[in-house]
Symmetry: C2
Subunit: 298 residues, 2 copies
C-alpha cells in the first residue's frame, strides 16, 4: 500500500487538511474554522488535531505535517525561523517535532523563514511550504507572488529565498472596507475593470498611500469620480503598490509567477500587464500537495 | 457695546463653539460630542444649534458662523467647494446661509475648497477657516501643516491655496491600533523618541507603506525590534510619509508652519528637523478666533 501523509495548513483564522500520497495525489481534504485564534490555548491544539483526524477518519499512525501560524508564538509551539541560506528543498530536514506524547510521535511543524536586509527584516510562515512545492515543480528561480491578506513577493535563486517583501494588501483593504472614512464608499464591485486600472495608474505615480487613499474620498465627495468604482480603485492602489515596488528590481517584460486562487490570480495578471510584466499562474492546491509529498521521505 | 459672533467648528465627531469679539478675543467657549454623526438627520442640526446656544446662554440675535463637516452632504446643508482661485480673505463674501427660518436669518456656513491637479482632486472643509486666520496673522505664503485625523499640507501663495495634499495619518494610525495584525504590538508610548526617529528614517527610504507596516510585525516576532517602540515607529512611518512627500517640493532648510496642539506640533517639529526643515508653530485657538473675527464685518 502507498504511504500517505496528512498536511495541515493551519492559519490564523482557518485550517485546511489534505491526505496526500507519495505521488502528490490528494486522497481526502477537509477545512474548518479552527484556526490558531479559535483554538486559543496552547494545550488545546493537540485535542483540536485529534478532532480533525476523527472528522477525516484518519488514525494516529499517519504522519502529520503542520505549517502556518501553528508554529508561531501564539500557536501550538513556536518554531524558530530559518535563515534564507537554507534552501527550500532542505525543509524536510528542519521539521520541528511538536507537542507532548502522543502527538509528538509523528507530528511535525515546518519552520518559516526570516529574511534580513540591513536593519530591516521580513518573515513568512506557511508560504515556505507553497514555495517548496513550486521549486519541486521546476520553479527554482525568479519572482513568485503569493497574494492575500499578507501578500508575499519572493525572489528565488537556485531554489533558495533571495529576497522577501510582505505587503499588508488584503488586511488593509479589509480594514478600509470595514470602518473609517472610505468604508461607506466601498460597496461597489472590487473587480470593476475601469476602477482597478485607474487605481493601478495612481499607484504607479509614486505618491504616498495615505494621500492617494484620501483622494478616493475627495473624488467622490466632489463628484469627480464614480463611487461605484471606489472599491476597485482602492484594490488597484494597494495591488499596484506591490507592482510599483517590484518593478524596480524586475526588467521590463520580466515574468512573475502567481500562486493564488483563480480570482486573485486574474487580478494580479491584469496588474502585471499594466506594469509591463508577464504573469504565469500556479495552482495553490497542486503546489501544496506537491510540497507535502516531499515530507513522506523525511 | 462691541459686536460679537459665535463661531462653531462642527466636525464629524465633536463640535467646539467660541464667542468672539471684533478684536478676536474669545469671550466664552464650549465643546461637546454633538458632531455631525451624533446629530444625524438633517433637520436635527437646527435644534442641536439651539441647544448649544442655550448651553452657552447666547441668544439668537448673535450671528453664527459654522465651519467643518456641517457643510458636507451628510451635514446640515451641503455647501459647494470653492475653487482655489478664490483667496482666503474673500471667504467672508462666500458664506452660505443655512437652514430654514429661524436659523437662516443669521446663521452661515464657511465653504471648503477643492484643489484640482490633473485628474486628481483634494478637498478641505474646516481647515479653510484656520488658514484664513493664519493669513490675517501675516502668514500669506509658504507651507502650512494642519496635522490630525486627516493631515493637511497647504502651500499658500499670496493668501491663496496653491497646493493641497491630505494624508489619512491619524485615521490610519487609529485603525491600525484598534484591530488587525499590528494592534497587539501598539500598546507602547507613541511618542517614544527612538521609535519615532526610526520610523521617520524608514519613511524616508521610500518603500511602500503596506510593506513597511508589515515589517513592524516582522521585527517584533523575530525579536529584532523592541515591541515598546512599535507604536512610535508606526507614528514615525505615517508622519514621515508626509514629510518625505513634501520634501520633494521644499528646498532644504525651508520652513513649514504647523497649526496644531502642542503635543502634535512638537512631534511635527521633530519630524521637520529630521527632514532638514525648519518648523514654526501657530496656536490653533488664536488662529481660529482671528478668522472668525473677520466674519463680523461680513
Amino acid at each position: 500500500m502507498d504511504k500517505t501523509i496528512l498536511g495541515v495548513d493551519w492559519g490564523t483564522s482557518n485550517r485546511r487538511a489534505y491526505l496526500i500520497d507519495q505521488h502528490a495525489n490528494c486522497l481526502a481534504e477537509y477545512e474548518d474554522d479552527q484556526g490558531m485564534l479559535a483554538v486559543g490555548e496552547r494545550d488545546r491544539f493537540g485535542p483540536s488535531l485529534d478532532a480533525l483526524r476523527s472528522a477525516m477518519g484518519i488514525d494516529t499512525t499517519i504522519p502529520v505535517i503542520l505549517s502556518g501560524m501553528v508554529g508561531s508564538a501564539s500557536g501550538w509551539q513556536e518554531v524558530n525561523y530559518l535563515d534564507t541560506s537554507v534552501p527550500l528543498t532542505a525543509l524536510p530536514s528542519h521539521l520541528a517535532p511538536v507537542g507532548a506524547a502522543p502527538w509528538s510521535a509523528n507530528c511535525r511543524i515546518v519552520p518559516g523563514y526570516a529574511y534580513r536586509r540591513g536593519p530591516s527584516i521580513d518573515v513568512m510562515r506557511g508560504e515556505e511550504t507553497q514555495l517548496l512545492g513550486a521549486v519541486v515543480l521546476g520553479q527554482r528561480d525568479g519572482w513568485l507572488v503569493l497574494p492575500g491578506t499578507h501578500s508575499k513577493w519572493v525572489l528565488l535563486q537556485d531554489g533558495a529565498v533571495d529576497s522577501l517583501s510582505t505587503y499588508m494588501t488584503g488586511e488593509l483593504y479589509a480594514m478600509l472596507s470595514k470602518g473609517g472614512t472610505l468604508s461607506s464608499l466601498m460597496g461597489g464591485d472590487s473587480s470593476d475593470a475601469a476602477g482597478f486600472t485607474a487605481g493601478l495608474d495612481q499607484a504607479g505615480a509614486g505618491e504616498p498611500l495615505t494621500n492617494t487613499l484620501f483622494r478616493v474620498r475627495a473624488g467622490v465627495v466632489s463628484r469627480s469620480a464614480p463611487v461605484e468604482q471606489a472599491a476597485a480603485f482602492v484594490s488597484g492602489l494597494l495591488i499596484g503598490a506591490e507592482f510599483a515596488a517590484a518593478a524596480r528590481s524586475l526588467p521590463a517584460g520580466g515574468t512573475v509567477t502567481v500562486i493564488g486562487s483563480p480570482a486573485l490570480a486574474k487580478r494580479y495578471a491584469v496588474a502585471a500587464r499594466h506594469f509591463g510584466l508577464q504573469c504565469q499562474v500556479l495552482d495553490p492546491h497542486r503546489v501544496y500537495c506537491t510540497a507535502i509529498s516531499q515530507f513522506i521521505k523525511a
